[in-house]
Point group: C2
Chain length 127, copies 2
Amino acid sequence: MPRKPKAETRRSNCPIACSLDLVGDRWTLVIVRDLLRGLTKYGEFLGGEEGIPTNVLAERLVRLEEARLVTKTPYQQNPVRFSYELTAKGRTLAPVVGAIAMWGQKNFPGAALDPELRKLVEAHANS
Amino acid sequence: MPRKPKAETRRSNCPIACSLDLVGDRWTLVIVRDLLRGLTKYGEFLGGEEGIPTNVLAERLVRLEEARLVTKTPYQQNPVRFSYELTAKGRTLAPVVGAIAMWGQKNFPGAALDPELRKLVEAHANS
DNA sequence: TTAGTCACTTGTTAATAACAAGTGACACGG
DNA sequence: CCGTGTCACTTGTTATTAACAAGTGACTAA
């Protein structure tokens, strides 16, 4: 069951399409949102109010790691436990998460952004 | 043929999660990209270099219409043909498409943004 | 009459997501 | 030492969605 042909075939040279092949799904950017908020542990992501399925979370984390947007480092031994953090490259996603957050706030009545996250996002937004 | 229960259940009140439920997939924002570029006809979207499957395109267009991001209007009779255009609300997606485009340009070597689109995106970006 | 275009729709199969349960390594309490 | 519990996953199974292929209806032009 070696599952890794991993063709890495771009469907086009458009930067939008390329980006969407990596982060264009319902879950990846909510994980990035949580990483921006400072969450680090598997169980913390799992416990979010959206209720991400565990296998989806595990798969996305390895994908983000492979793309060098996230690092996985042990924060304790016995038993070994890992913490996930955004790399510098991963943090450059903040403006896209911010733009989406702004758009969502305007267009979904009642939707409110975590204040901690809002500060982070406003640091990148200008207007 | 019961058409749609249409639960419209938000998985959370987070504006990011809400937005991703609407536009968080591999195709929706490439359609929006093409709309921003001024494409209007079904066949034009279908003919893009990414090669969107026709049933996916049809489904996304009704979804965008239902969300009032896109209007569908006949531009000729005999036979009737439609043109698709962004609404004012739809055009407010420009900053998120722009942020994604910028990110993709930085992170996918060789990816180049359509110049026409770049102008549009730079009008919304500041930095 | 025949061929062709456009904008879809309708299958059918392949891939992915969602849900449920299980696993291994350890810590702690009795 | 033994059972119970936690954490971070993995493995299966079913449901939903995407991809691919083909067909349809309303025309136009030859």
